[in-house]
């Protein structure tokens, strides 16, 4: 599987998000491109983990970015990290969507993409895809707050204080949510260890 890399933003790497946002607010179109290349892949990946749905994740990301663009002229440097702010908006938008989804008949939980099993040459790839599907299904089964905390900690790579800022809770609450989420995920995935290809490893 190819690992997608974001080469466009490399030359802008030294500039902070806040500096780029200030240049955007001053009318620089290049800053908009750089911020989009830097923030959108992360935001959409995070939203997809929370929602378990790629199309909805894209809508949420577009909305969150639009709010960022609108906030740009009044942005005060040092008040908040741009990434933290964006993750918070994405988190809240996802929570709203999940709440709406619960009111309607649920159908999305089992919508994970099917893996065709006719192709015997791609067993490793299939197992990998299957593992990711299993992980997503397990994440989907978690309560919202636990899912947010564990995804931010273990997939997005945030520190606990950063997660506390995103979720607007204390660091201890983050630790508690993450620990409970990991226990729940372990239990959810325990029954699938054999089919996920872990037999060969021990």
């Amino acid at each position: 599987m190819d690992m997608p890399r974001d080469m466009q933003a490399d030359h802008q790497a030294s500039e902070t998000d806040a500096a780029l946002l200030a240049r955007y607010a001053a009318g620089d179109p290049a800053a908009a491109r750089a911020l989009t290349a830097r923030l959108v892949p992360r935001a959409v990946g995070y939203a997809a983990r929370l929602l378990g749905d790629g199309a909805e994740a894209e809508d949420v990301t577009q909305e969150a970015m639009l709010r960022l663009w609108r906030a740009a002229p009044g942005w005060r440097d040092g008040e908040a990290q741009v990434a933290t702010w964006l993750y918070r908006v994405v988190t809240n938008l996802c929570t709203d969507r999940l709440r709406l989804r619960k009111r309607r008949p649920a159908s999305a939980l089992d919508d994970a993409p099917e893996v065709a099993d006719g192709d015997r040459g791609a067993v490793a790839g299939m197992i990998e895809a299957d593992r990711m599907t299993a992980l997503q299904a397990a994440l989907d089964a978690l309560p919202d707050r636990q899912r947010q905390a564990v995804v931010l900690r273990h997939i997005e790579g945030f520190t606990n204080p950063e997660i506390a800022a995103v979720m607007d809770i204390g660091v201890e609450a983050v630790e508690s949510l993450t620990a409970r989420a990991k226990r729940a995920l372990t239990a959810l995935l325990a029954g699938r260890r054999e089919e996920l290809g872990y037999d060969d490893e021990n």
């Binding site: 599987m1 690992m3 997608p4 955007y24 607010a25 001053a26 009318g27 179109p29 908009a32 491109r33 911020l35 989009t36 290349a37 959108v40 892949p41 959409v44 990946g45 997809a48 983990r49 790629g54 894209e58 990301t61 577009q62 970015m65 639009l66 663009w69 609108r70 740009a72 002229p73 990998e128 593992r131 990711m132 299993a134 992980l135 273990h154 997939i155 790579g157 990991k182 995920l185 372990t186 995935l189 325990a190 260890r193 996920l196 872990y198 021990n202």
Partner: protein, 122 residues
């Protein structure tokens, strides 16, 4: 205990795989986000909204201010037009009255004495 550690290890492996295989956003999404950015981007060199300059008063407003408002100016305009009309028509009775008052025949009347100084002042 070891079983539990193994299970967490499996979970950590899954997280590592998830981190290593990010889902790239579609080009369509990138285009949509950029289009939004361009649409709401503040135009011009400065993001700080400038105070709108007060509009410079026009000639009539300045003239009216000199004479104490537009009403006074309208009254003066009417008087001037009437004076002009009288000057052109030269009613016989009025000429006689003018001659009687001034003692000499009246040829010209200066309606607004030295109007240039009034305009130069502003």
């Amino acid at each position: 205990m070891t079983m539990k550690t193994d299970r967490h290890q499996g979970l950590d492996d899954l997280f590592a795989e998830a981190r290593a295989t990010p889902r790239p956003p579609s080009q369509a999404l990138m285009a949509r986000v950029l289009a939004d950015a361009m649409e709401v981007q503040p135009k011009g060199v400065s993001a700080i909204p400038l105070r709108r300059p007060m509009p410079r008063p026009g000639m009539w407003q300045r003239l009216a201010a000199v004479f104490g408002g537009a009403g006074a100016l309208a009254g003066m305009g009417t008087a001037a037009a009437a004076g002009l009309l009288i000057g052109f028509v030269q009613p016989g009775d009025l000429s006689a009255l003018g001659d009687a008052v001034l003692g000499t025949p009246l040829e010209t009347v200066e309606l607004i004495p030295s109007v240039d100084t009034l305009l130069d002042g502003n």
